[in-house]
Every structure is written in structure tokens, then in C-alpha cells.
Symmetry: C2
Subunit: 335 residues, 2 copies
Amino acid sequence: MNYQEAGVDIDRKAGALRAAAQKIKATYTPQVLRGIGAFGGMMEASRLKEMAAPVLVASTDGVGTKTLLAAQTGRYGGLGFDLVHHSVNDLLVQGARPLFFMDYIASARLEAEVLAAVLESLAEACKAVGMPLLGGETAEMPGVYHEGGLDLVGTIVGVVDKDKIVDGAQVQPGDVLLALPSSGLHTNGYSLARKVFAGWNLEEPRPQLGGQSLAEALLVPHRCYLEEVDLLQREGIEIRAMAHITGGGVYENLPRVLPQGLGAEIRRGTFPVPPIFELIQRAGNVAEQEMFRVFNMGLGYILVLSSDMASGAGTLLTQSYPVGYIMEGSGIKVV
Amino acid sequence: MNYQEAGVDIDRKAGALRAAAQKIKATYTPQVLRGIGAFGGMMEASRLKEMAAPVLVASTDGVGTKTLLAAQTGRYGGLGFDLVHHSVNDLLVQGARPLFFMDYIASARLEAEVLAAVLESLAEACKAVGMPLLGGETAEMPGVYHEGGLDLVGTIVGVVDKDKIVDGAQVQPGDVLLALPSSGLHTNGYSLARKVFAGWNLEEPRPQLGGQSLAEALLVPHRCYLEEVDLLQREGIEIRAMAHITGGGVYENLPRVLPQGLGAEIRRGTFPVPPIFELIQRAGNVAEQEMFRVFNMGLGYILVLSSDMASGAGTLLTQSYPVGYIMEGSGIKVV
């Protein structure tokens, strides 16, 4: 199915949706043979022919209950960036680069303005990383979704040459964890955050957030780490492993890319924790360990590098923090 | 994200989910380098290297409100087949063949037994067409989904060599429409069907349905046309266009693959209409044209062939029906 089949005929809808369709088309590269409207989106894979052993990499993700906060505040314009950036980061971890993106937007009823805002943000985010939004599906299912409930899901497909896969095999005890900062919650922990702030005024500027409102601080889009990883690899920095810190925090995401028998220690105070996390922790009386299990706590993306490479990388990057080390043993300790 | 991140740690759940994980792993071919548990699923694309000009084809789809009927009757075991077959057919239309599949399952709360039933059916359907279930995502969002409401969405990625793309360019007036029968509603028209049968006993055997119950007749899985299309292409039958008849029926799906200036005429009585459609039409007092707009009416998949090729195809296929012709003009007439 596609936007037309689902009854959301872009040509028949308001100017808002026409503008979104234009933005989607603007993501198309010359490799795109068929986009929205076809049974399947089509893209020439000439890039793969040039690789010695191309490996396709794919990830499916949603933005979770961040949509509820978007609905509550009427701010839908960041959700597309959230989804696309989350997805690109998941590919990056294995050394892959994006080829194309597919989206799914569903609700009880899709207002044209909401759909347009989400589609435009998806298209803009895709365009910024040079990735066509090749197709998608919309669905209106009042029996499945709550009124106002929206789900936003996407599948990213990318590619990496087999000998360029980053798989953690070279990670050694003593390797440095170099963290790239997050912009805030990214797309995880919204169930807890919404519970903590239930009944709070979301639009009131708050000094603890540097004058931002809760709505602004909570909805700031997920950061994309493509540029940083591109820069490091272009400059010959050998990256031994990478982890995208999503649901489960450092405790669950870092071990996924480390070899058996290795763990890591992360030191508090070596990296900035965005003020929104401190507010959540205080307002919700949440234990520190729980905070690190639910949220990224400022650690958006972690690179594992030899100490030599880490100092090289540190001088190349505008914002990066050596936050800890790889250790013998297993598990992640935050000390 | 993946099953682990989403809190559905397969190892920690009951035997039901372990069995599903085994079935998912059984879909993996030697080309699969990473499956569930990784940030992204990975698959070697050696097949693409052998093609002159490989084109990736992708489609994202959901099974819509068929999930509500599954929930109502506790029969979830067909949904995976519905989603996978729908997706495979969408690729076939353009001449592509499946490479891999990604799924998304979301609900207010995911019962282990329901999740296992859906995952197992997805895995079995993927296995049967030789396609790895490379990854997926599960989400529990009580604020977004109704209690018992379930959404099941998937993205299929396939490939076709550029000169093998079936694009309708060779379609001529007089070409034959050869229909492959559907098994029933497939994955479209459930909102109307559920409305028509609201309050009916779904489990009672009905003589009008050859002794089947409504639940059985309505939940029969979407058919897959891969085998038929494979057979025809292997035997040298030149297929000029193909349409998968989904939402919007023949009226909306057939024109999508015909060149400008061509339409088609379909003749009633040339193909069997499954009894469930006659029951819906009578019980709901639905106009004939509306039936053909909402449902496939027995026309699951339509091949457009020269008349010579059509008779050749007809002898090769066990079940196929010449149901009409390509005409000058535009639009689809059912006469």
C-alpha cells in the first residue's frame, strides 16, 4: 500500500499535503525509479555493485510515546527528525550508511495538518542525510488506536562493505569510551517522563531548563551522529565499536557491541547531563541507577577507541567526552 | 530497536516466545550475518552483485483492522501469513523477488501468547518463501492503542534486475486480463465487513459459506502468488503488467500499472466470487460497484498478457481465469 491506497490521496487533499508530497519528492536522487504511488518504491543499487561484498543492513523503529507529548502540545514537527535520526544512528553502529527510508503513520483518524507536519519533518530529515523517503503507508484505524493516539514507525535500509563492518571484535581492555552528547531524551523514556510531569504546565518557561518550557525540552529532536562518524572515518580514525544509547540506557546498549568477557566503567562528572534529566530525577524522585537504565543521560552515542585514536578523535570533534574505559569482566558500571 | 530493547527479552519470556525465536532463526539463510538482537539486521547481498543493474524494491504494509477480528476470535495464527503474502505480492507486481522482511508489532500490552502466535506465523510465512525475517520491533503503548487493539506492519525489501522490471509499458488494447483467485478478503475491507456482521455469531457454521463459520471465512489468510508468477516466468511467459488487488479493488489497483490512455473491461461471471462476498453484499445491502471498490471480489492478482501468452499461461496454471481485456480509454469497467 501507499499514501494513495490508504485513502490519503495527496492530490485530493489540502495544500498542506501537496507541500509534503513535494518535500518527499525532493528527497529523490537520480537512483530512485519509483517513489510514492507505486506498489513498491524502487531504487537503483549501483553503489552496491562497486563494493567487494555489499551487506544490506536494516532496522525498524518507532518513536514510541513521544507522539503523545507531540499530540498534547500540538508540536508534531520534530517527530520525523526523531525517527530518521534514531534509525540512521542504529545503522551507523555497524558501520553502515543509509540507502533509503520507509515510513508508517497510523492513528484513529489522520488530520491533514498533522499528517503533513509529520511527513514534512520525515522528508526534511531524510533530505538532510541524502536518503530518499522511498515509500510508506498511512492507516486510519479507530478501533485500534485511541482518539489522538498516533504511531510513527520507520524502516531504514543501508549498506556496508563486509570488511568495513564495525563489530567490536578488536575492542581491548583499556580502550576509551568517547561519548557524543545527546540533545535530551531522544526517543526513549517518555512513559516515565510523562508520568513524572503529569499535571505540570508544559508551556511555562522554567529557569531550571535555562528558560525552556517542558514541552520544548522534552520534544527537542533526537540527534543524528552521521556527520561525526563520517568525519572520523574520513580522517582515518579506527573505530572499534559504537553504541547508540536508546531504551535500556548504557546498561543495555553498550554490552550489545562488546565481545564476551569485556565490560565498561563510566565515570559520572566526565560528561554534561542535560538539565531535563536532573529535573525528571528530582521531580519524580527516581534513583540514579534507574535514570541510567531508562534515559541516555546525555550519552547519545558512544565510540570505543584505542587511547591513541581517542585523543585524535577528540581533537577532530567539536563536542566529545572521554567518559570511561573498557574493563575485563562484564556489565557496565556507572561510578 | 529490536525485540530485546523493547523489553520483550525472548530469553526471559515463556517457552512460547522461545519457540517463536527458533522459528525466526530458522528463516535465516547463510547470507544473514546478524538477526534479532543486533542494532540492525545484516544480510550479504551477493545476489545483487551478479545482476547487471540491481534495483532494490521496498514496500511497507499493514494488515489493517483484520487484527480486530483476530483479537475478537482469539485466532492470531493467520496474521503473519496475511502480512507476508500481501508484501510479497506487492513486490511481484514490479517483477521483483524478496530479499528480507522486517516486522513491527504494537499494542497497549503484548501478551506473550499473542506475540508468539503472530511471530510464529510471520516466521513460517517468511520461511515458506525463502526470505529471512531479519529484524523487527515490538512496542507496548497503552496511551496510543486501545486495550486489545493490535497493529501489525511490515516492510519487505526485494530486488529486480533493471531490464526485468515489469512496468506495463508494453500493454496493448486487446491484451487479456488473467486473474488468479483470491482466498477471500485478504487484508482489505475489514472495516466494512465488521460493520456488516456486528452482532452476528462468528463461530456458527453457515451453509452459505459451505459450512464454514464467519470467523473462518473472514480470517482465511491472504494468498501469495509467488509460485504462479515464478512458474510463468520460468516457462518463458512474457508478462506485460501485474496488479495486486488490495484496498480500492480493481478500480484503483489496475490503473496503477496501465499506461496512460488504456483502461480495462472486466466481465462478471468469468471468475468465481467467494461466497463470503455474496454474504457481505446481501447482509449489508451493499451496491455492486461499492463491493468492487472495497473488496477484491475473488480477483486476487491480475496478469496482463498478450492473447497468445494468456492461453499458454492458462494451460500452465491450475487456477486462472481470463476475466477481461485491455481497452482504449481510461478507467476500469465491470460489466
